[in-house]
Amino acid sequence: MSDGSVGPKDTAHPPLRGTGDGAPTRLETSDAGTAGLPADAAPDKVAIASQWQLTWWAFKRHRLAMLGLWVIGLLYLIAIFSEFIAPDDPFKQNRRAVFHPPQMIHFIDRTEDGIQLRPYVWEMDRQRDPETLAITYTKSGEKIYLRMFGPGPEYKFWGIWTTNIHLFATVDPREKYFLFGADRLGRDMFSRIAYGTRISMSIGLVGVAISLVLGIVLGGLSGYYGGRIDMAIQRLIEFTLSLPTIPIWLALAAALPPSWPIYQQYFVITLIVSLVGWTELGRVVRGRFLAMKNDDFVIAARLDGASEPRIIFRHMLPSLTSHIIASLTLAVPLMILAETGLSFLGLGLQPPAISWGVLLKEAQNILSISQAPWLFIPGGFVVIAVLAFNFLGDGMRDAADPYGH
């Protein structure tokens, strides 16, 4: 190095590196950009696959999420067709069936005529212990036969069509069966749960819809405009998150007059419940918007001359939707749990409304549940629904960005 040559004649390229402002370079160009995409799809199919197809392919590989999807699908089927699925009127009291235990449906019928495929349950007889006055049920040995799409109590489907066809009905309309047992008034638990599914599952959806509006509007404003608006909304989110939800809900719900009609209660409870969901969603939307605002492809769209609404709706939102849907899915179980908790405490929906929480309120009495543990069954539905939504949401979150590197 002693001869002080003035300057090098030859230069070589310095190594791969980020741009002037420090963004690290992270790509290789030796192969096509299809790495990380499913190998089972033909390359041509992948080449023209839209984001939804890619997301679906990624999602399908998530087995628990698929299970969650099936379970949720089933629950919503019950919610939609609850009158049809419920064998009985959920409000019908039956003094002779107080705390009637659950009956298993059997399908293979062994009679003297041989083996037949038809559903039946064992009939139960009710006895009262003469000393303790405790009621017990024992098998009478008689079978109650069931049939599909048979006539049962009359109902108005969706409040519109009057019919009496049920999914499962007893062959003899005078008989009854209790798949999940009966409560302290002899009402059929299965029918009540089917009706409760409608309210509990839909509160989740409606609540999420309200949070969605709040979250997208506030989060979007915060992320897109930044500065002082962002500051204020951020503080609002922090503040909301720091509040203990249940005392606040209780206080809000306590303000509701119990004399309100069910639909009004339903709406206000949903509103209260959704007050918790929007913060998380707002944070997701804000974070994504902030990050994406300076993404090269958004800047490119701006330089292309696209208008602000076009940039937001055509370029930014499509990248957000899958993330938003995943966050929404994860927010639904929170709403379901919230409604259940409130109704359980007697501050949510009030009887005669039926939701899983209202049903669980019946299980509050330790004497009742020690006598009729099947009162816990609505709790099982809550747990299964929440689990299924969590599995589904996790899978969707993992699949939300099929272009991950």
């Binding site: 720091s242 209780l250 908790g341 405490l345 669980l360 543990p373």
Partner: protein
């Protein structure tokens, strides 16, 4: 540097507490009518009728005839002097009613927090380090179910098991002989003996989510280049995992106090009602149902303040733990 941060953070709490007080006050005001309406209705049930003059008299005595903001400032002004007002229903100063219950609530919440951490940290670490083993799958499954089970359902199930299989009522925080006894060492021991059930009930959900957080954080950190650096130094596997990735993963973990505590305080309300614990929950519920506004307001305010304090603690811990936060 740290002291400045803590001071700043303390100042920052003031607007938060102010907002909390407004929210509490508005919530109390939200029900149609006020305490007097309820009171008159109650008297009406027993065929007593108050004449307009005495109603007005009562109204003035409780300050109910003044505009809302006057009532608010009066309320806050008294609060600052430690006066939470009178409970209409109990005809006692609110402060006499709330403190012991709040003390037990704080005790329960922090015991649960400790329990949650003590359990979630090692399990989370195990689950991350032994990713995709049988142990990890079992932990993940239990965790998911724990997350999906509402506190009150778990409480009910445990009570059911207690009653049906052990014939014992497992509710409450004290044995009957200590319930109304003055505080003594024996009463504290008795409290600890009873505390485990509510702690488990309350802690399950939080533990499950903290395990998931710890596992996810640690899995992220385990792949960082600095772990390789430490390994290339010749550190043993166990020592390097504990010293580096676990240490780094601890920081976001600590900041979870901020939201775990509000959840615990919330959960404690419901659980306490089911297990009939002498904490804030049941009394607050009762106060809300009878629109005993000063009592309910005190509870909402104190419970919310508790979580704000929790956020403060988690922020301070984070600053002590993470030099990056200090540097900013």
């Amino acid at each position: 540097m740290i002291w400045r941060f803590i001071l700043k953070r303390l100042l920052y709490m003031i607007p938060f507490l102010f907002a909390v007080s407004i929210v509490s006050f508005l919530l109390i005001q939200a029900p149609p009518g006020d305490y007097l309406t309820t009171y008159i209705a109650k008297l009406g049930e027993s065929n007593e009728v108050l004449d307009q003059a005495s109603i007005n008299n009562l109204r003035a005595r409780f300050g109910l005839d003044q505009p809302l903001y006057v009532q608010y400032f009066k309320w806050v002004g008294n609060l600052l002097q430690g006066d939470f007002g009178m409970s209409f229903e109990w005809r006692q100063p609110v402060s006499d009613l709330v403190w012991e219950r709040m003390g037990l609530t704080v005790c329960l919440s922090f015991a649960t927090l400790l329990f949650t951490w003590a359990l979630a940290m090692p399990i989370g670490i195990y689950s991350a380090v032994r990713k995709y083993t049988l142990g990890d799958y079992i932990i993940t499954t239990i965790g998911f179910i724990g997350l999906a089970t509402p506190n009150f359902l778990l409480a009910l199930i445990l009570m059911y098991i207690g009653v049906v299989h052990f014939g014992a009522d497992v509710g409450g925080l004290f044995s009957p002989e200590y319930k109304n006894a003055p505080w003594s060492w024996a009463k504290v021991v008795n409290l600890i003996e009873h505390l485990w059930l509510p702690v488990i009930v309350l802690g399950t959900g939080a533990t499950a989510s903290l395990i998931r957080i710890m596992r996810a954080n640690l899995l992220d950190e385990l792949n960082r280049p600095y772990v390789d650096t430490a390994r290339a130094k010749g550190l043993s596997e166990w020592a390097l995992i504990m010293k580096y990735p676990v240490r780094v993963a601890l920081n976001p973990f600590v900041s979870t106090i901020g939201w775990v505590l509000p959840n615990l305080v919330s959960g404690a309300v419901v659980t306490a009602i089911v297990l009939s614990l002498p904490t804030a929950g049941p009394l607050m519920l009762q106060a809300l149902l009878s629109q005993d506004m000063y009592l309910a307001g005190a509870f909402v305010l104190l419970l919310s303040s508790l979580t704000v304090v929790g956020m403060l603690i988690s922020d301070i811990l984070l600053v002590l733990l993470d030099p990056r936060v200090r540097y900013e």
